[in-house]
């Protein structure tokens, strides 16, 4: 895991100095993160990186997990889907299962934090243990159109916290507590984002039989309808009429997701004999994702719905021109025509792809702007800074705080 000093060449000494100043102000406070899993998923991934860095900065940070059985996690998965506005049948029994497991965790979990930082709905009921310490609820989910029944159920808990945190402005709604906007981030030193030697990129292309004889358009996403892979193929086919190019659709294996397998079959059916479309099933291989992004001329992210869409930040960090849908957290990452092109339809995506492929100088400028935007706003160091400011905000209610 990278040390804090290793970020200096990327973000500058002064950014790291600021982090140290803030960490000083948190001396003596214990921060306790609580979520439901230590591996897999975005929350665990970010905590794995943030917790050691906070400790290195001198902030006493702990990380605990709640326990739950299969039934509990099936229920919370249903909650998750319904908060994402996907149709789910939620029964009284689901709420009972949630309450029973929550009660066990309330009894067993040792609360040691001056600040308790609870991630997502699974551990939300722990707030019943609140004493005179401060509690934050961090929602990592797109709750712009939540199922009203589930949201109302969660509201009984949310109201007991001191503050809530959301990833995008559109996820916010009127709450009786303070709420903050903190976007997720990418780690520039991770395998997915670090610089790669040319030979690594070439060897990955060779492995998948991809020649660099024509421009490459790439979408990195799991095979899921919400990522609209069929729409991407359609846009590519329209572009192909004018520009000889190739398409890479690369994503994780979908063996545990029947719906995903079905989408993959549909994609393969649609592709048929086109040798310029490469469908790649990548088994959680961050270096390969990195190499494919770096080998691409244009990156597309044509999602229909998106939590935050960090694949956009990953592409921009590599100074790639990006065409992406105007959904979820994507407009925070792309200002249309400044740091990429936003679209609302297959036709819009087609037009944007043609523009970028035909105007390499323009494409280069957007990519460069995008890279600087990510450097200033979406790297792990900004995330660390925001979390420390969030902790400090619990002890200050003014709009201008002198530390």
């Amino acid at each position: 895991m990278a040390k804090i000093e290793e970020y200096i060449p990327i973000v500058g000494q002064s950014v790291i100095d600021d982090l140290k100043l803030l960490a000083e102000k948190l001396k003596g406070k214990v921060i306790q993160h609580i979520n439901s899993t230590s591996v897999g998923g975005g929350v665990a991934e970010i905590l794995t990186r943030i917790v050691p860095l906070l400790r290195e900065l001198g902030v006493d940070t702990r990380w605990d997990l709640i326990k739950g059985g299969e039934q509990f996690f099936e229920t919370t998965k249903k909650f998750h889907n319904s908060l994402h506005a996907r149709p789910e049948v939620i029964t009284e029994r689901d709420f009972e299962i949630f309450a029973e497991t929550s009660q066990k965790n309330i009894e067993e979990m040792q609360i040691s934090g001056d600040i308790v930082f609870v991630h997502d709905p699974q551990p939300i009921a722990l707030v019943k243990k609140k004493t005179d310490n401060k509690w934050i609820w961090r929602c990592h989910i797109d709750v712009s159109n939540p199922n009203a029944q589930v949201w109302q159920f969660l509201m009984d808990f949310i109201g007991q916290y001191d503050s809530a945190v959301f990833s995008a402005p559109s996820f916010s709604r009127k709450l009786p507590i303070r709420q903050f906007l903190i976007s997720p981030s990418i780690d520039p030193l991770s395998d997915k984002n670090k610089d790669l030697p040319r030979e690594t990129i070439d060897s990955v292309l060779k492995k998948y039989n991809i020649l660099q004889d024509k421009p490459i358009i790439t979408q990195i996403s799991r095979f899921d309808r919400l990522k609209d892979p069929l729409g991407v193929i359609e846009a590519y086919l329209q572009v192909k009429k004018y520009i000889n190019c190739q398409l890479i659709l690369a994503g994780g294996t979908a063996t545990d997701d029947p719906e995903g397998l079905k989408v993959l079959e549909e994609v393969k059916e649609r592709v048929k004999q086109d040798n310029d479309i490469h469908i790649l099933l990548l088994a959680q291989n961050d270096i390969e994702v990195n190499a494919l992004q770096r080998a691409s001329d244009v990156i597309i992210q044509k999602s229909i719905k998106e939590g935050f869409g960090l694949t956009v930040a990953e592409a921009l960090w590599k100074a790639k021109p990006v065409v992406a849908s105007n959904v979820g957290g994507i407009p925070l990452q792309i200002k249309h025509k400044y740091s990429g092109l936003l679209c609302h339809s297959i036709e819009g995506a087609t037009f944007a792809l043609k523009q970028l492929l035909n105007s390499p100088e323009y494409a280069k400028k957007l990519g460069k702007n995008g890279q600087e935007h990510i450097r200033n706003n979406f790297l792990l160091t900004r995330h660390l800074r925001d979390y420390m400011l969030l902790f400090l905000s619990l002890f200050h209610t003014q709009d201008i705080v002198y530390l």
Binding site: S172, L181, N369, L389, S393, D399, V401
Partner: protein, 220 residues
């Protein structure tokens, strides 16, 4: 080299975005909320771009201008909002009044603009800036030391002393000019800095300009 009566302690300003849960889908809603939201929200939407898009060429649009043009398609109003000369307004209150009156005047002559709605998910979301002001370890006792520090402090620090001190803390002028005039006694140099329009530069360009002015003064 003249020693300052009081040394200058550089501060930095870090900010956290606080969500208000308020959103506007039409110009009428935007106008009503602009009049109601806390000053910290007007400040956020007129200054966020400076810090978040510091690589962009000058004249970064404010969020109101960007939304009105980009989402509602009202380019003329967008242009009028983007060209509000922020430096002329000594307080957030006066800046808020100017933004509101610009929208009101436009709606009087363009009644159809009231009928435009933002698509779902593209509404204007009001956010507040919460500022944390932290003293840094950098202190200057004369212009030479001051110039050296200017070269290495964060742009957040320059931002704080130039923008936030003047408008949000209502100090009338920026902190640099104030110190140069009262502690160094160089009114000419102080005036030169306060007459810069910092809103039409990127923050890095502003840093370079300040350093140039200082170095010229030191060598003269």
């Amino acid at each position: 080299m003249i020693k300052a009566k009081e040394p200058f302690r550089f501060h930095t300003r870090l900010h956290l975005s606080e969500l208000t849960g308020l959103r506007a889908a039409t110009l009428s809603q935007l106008l009503r909320l602009i009049k109601e939201v806390p000053g910290a929200s007007i400040y956020h939407h007129t200054h966020r771009f400076l810090q978040q898009h510091q690589y962009l060429s000058p004249e970064p649009p404010n969020d109101f201008a960007y939304w009105v043009s980009g989402v509602l398609g009202e380019d003329e109003l967008g242009e009028r909002l983007a060209s509000i000369d922020t430096i002329q307004y000594p307080t957030i209150r006066s800046l808020r009044d100017k933004i509101a009156s610009t929208i009101e005047d436009y709606l009087k002559n363009n009644a159809l603009a009231k009928l435009k709605f933002a698509r779902e998910g593209e509404e204007f979301y009001f956010i507040k800036s919460v500022s944390f002001v932290v003293p840094t370890n950098y202190i200057a006792s004369d212009l030479a030391e001051f110039t050296q520090v200017l070269k290495k402090i964060t742009i957040e620090s320059i931002y704080f002393h130039i923008f936030e001190a003047r408008l949000r803390l209502e100090k009338q002028t920026n902190d640099f000019s104030n110190w140069i005039e009262t502690s160094i006694g160089d009114k000419k140099l102080a005036d030169k800095i306060s007459s810069l329009d910092p809103y039409t530069r990127t923050l890095e360009d502003l840093r370079k300009t300040l350093i140039n002015i200082m170095e010229k003064r030191i060598s003269s």
